[in-house]
């Protein structure tokens, strides 16, 4: 069965805006949320910039019962899920509990919570470690807490494939709907701007060491020198088109196609897997390359990876064959939260007829991309492709399409 699956609700927590309205207003205007890290003193680390979600006070949104047992990423995810459900016009209390499932992605888990508890273990002893460490750091914790808070007992899971995970989770959610679960809460929110999360990411050698917010993350630019990490993401409500229609829900768009591949081993002379992932997603959507109105790029900000992505896009769409944008230049790379935020942004672009900008970048012309510049571009957007790659060889692509 290939029941159409649609998005009916969006909840966003991003470095340049908390809530969908704030985020979209900032993004369409090219307003960046990248700045010097404030959550810890970054002075002694090579990288000092991040995209931090502004103005989030968990106690304003969540009951006190949840505060001692949650990491920042879980608090953000719970609130984004609340907003997404509200946006979808769904009250979980009104639905049978087995008709709702949760699939999120995670790249590192609740690192800040884990770091605090490890510090207590090391400095004070095991009896000082919180009982909640048993799950608060864990990859699956956002899926678990969202399902508990909303009484959702349908199929549930977590996908861990770094930055590609956000797309993989949405695709798995689509599968579960096609198998018969009416409502799936999906997407992802990541947050690990703490010293432990920082050194873990630093180890991969891809983080920018620039301390200039406007010059640090320059994907597809000749001066690209790595990425700036960020926190946040988006939670999406997915339903079958049929059930959305039956309850008269507002539909943002369809999750029309998905493809995922794995890169060949390092040093192999075989082609990287990204092009194939894009082609699989288009085929799954029944879409031709010329149907695609915009690509939301993975935009690694690492020259070699940028070139691989540009080559894949040129192979599928032709040189400068499709507008390409990277609004993540305003948020930093959000790990598993990045792609759901890009999917949400693509849906907002469809709604408004506007491709959001890529800021700060002077595109390297030799890459052959029609990169949308610092100004947004008005366009009739009906079909968008979102691309994401995860550290270690994951490639995922998803086609998002307007519903008539």
């Amino acid at each position: 069965m290939t029941t159409p699956v649609v998005v009916t609700g969006i909840g966003i927590a991003a470095p340049n805006g908390l809530g969908t309205a704030d985020y979209w207003a900032a993004t369409r205007a090219g307003k960046s949320g990248i700045g010097r890290v404030t959550r810890f003193d970054p002075a002694s680390y090579p990288s000092t910039l991040a995209g931090e979600v502004p103005g989030f006070v968990a106690e304003d949104h969540l009951p006190s019962r949840l505060i001692p047992q949650t990491d920042r990423m879980t608090r953000l995810a719970l609130v984004a899920a609340d907003w997404a459900l509200k946006d979808a016009g769904l009250d979980p209390k009104d639905l049978p509990e087995y008709d709702m499932g949760v699939v999120t992605a995670s790249s590192s888990g609740g690192f800040e919570f884990g770091q605090n508890e490890l510090e207590k273990l090391w400095g004070q002893g095991s009896q000082f470690v919180s009982a909640y460490q048993s799950f608060a750091w864990f990859y699956a914790v956002n899926s678990g807490q969202i399902s508990i808070r909303n009484g959702m007992k349908g199929p549930s899971g977590v996908i861990v494939s770094d930055e590609a995970g956000g797309i993989d989770a949405v695709a798995h959610g689509r599968r579960l709907i096609r198998k018969g679960t009416p409502v799936i809460v999906t997407g992802s929110v990541d947050a690990s701007i703490c010293p432990w999360g920082w050194v873990a990411q630093q180890a991969a050698g891809r983080m920018s060491t620039s301390d200039e917010p406007g010059r640090a993350f320059l994907p597809f630019d000749t001066e690209a020198s790595g990425y700036v990490p960020g926190e946040g993401g988006a939670i999406l409500i997915m339903e079958s088109a049929e059930s959305a229609q039956a309850r008269g829900a507002r539909v943002y768009g369809e999750i029309a196609g998905y493809g995922a591949t794995f890169d060949p081993r390092p040093g192999s002379d075989r082609e990287p897997g990204l092009r194939k992932a894009i082609e699989l997603a288009l085929a799954d959507a029944g879409a031709r390359p010329e149907d695609v109105d915009v690509v939301f790029a993975d935009a690694a900000g690492v020259p070699e990876l940028d070139r691989v992505e540009a080559e894949a896009l040129c192979a599928v769409f032709g040189v400068c064959g499709v507008p390409v944008t990277a609004p993540k230049t305003m948020t930093g790379r959000l790990y598993s939260g990045a792609a759901p935020l890009d999917i949400a942004t693509a849906l907002l672009a469809i709604e408004e007829g506007l491709i959001p900008p890529t800021v700060n970048v002077n595109a390297d012309e030799s890459l052959g991309l029609d990169l949308v510049g610092p100004q947004p571009r008005t366009a009739r957007v009906r079909t968008a492709l979102v691309v994401a790659r995860g550290y270690g060889g994951f490639n995922s692509a998803v086609v998002v399409r307007a519903v008539d």
Binding site: S64, Q127, F128, A131
Partner: protein, 88 residues
């Protein structure tokens, strides 16, 4: 007489419960809770484990592993902790 004349009170328990696990929105912790079951107050086994561990740290007692699964009300927990002081 023991050198430790401390007593574990309901106020101590309220404070530690809040620190350890917060409070359910539907529950008034300041009300008459001595004989209300922890489950009704919204505290499941993990919340009690965390609460017990904080009591142990702060009051320098070692609670029996099974104790927290056996005491089901604030009164029972307070009495059990205070037995440690009188026994010392």
């Amino acid at each position: 007489m023991s050198i430790d004349t401390r007593e574990f009170t309901l106020d101590d328990l309220r404070r530690i419960l809040l620190e350890a696990a917060g409070a359910d929105e539907a529950v008034d912790l300041d009300g008459e809770i001595l004989d209300v079951q922890f489950e009704v107050l919204g505290y499941e086994s993990l919340a009690l484990l965390e609460t017990g561990s904080r009591i142990e740290r702060e009051f320098g007692v070692a609670l029996d592993d099974d104790l927290l699964s056996e005491v089901d009300t604030p009164r029972a927990l307070i009495e059990a902790v205070n037995r440690h002081f009188t026994a010392a």
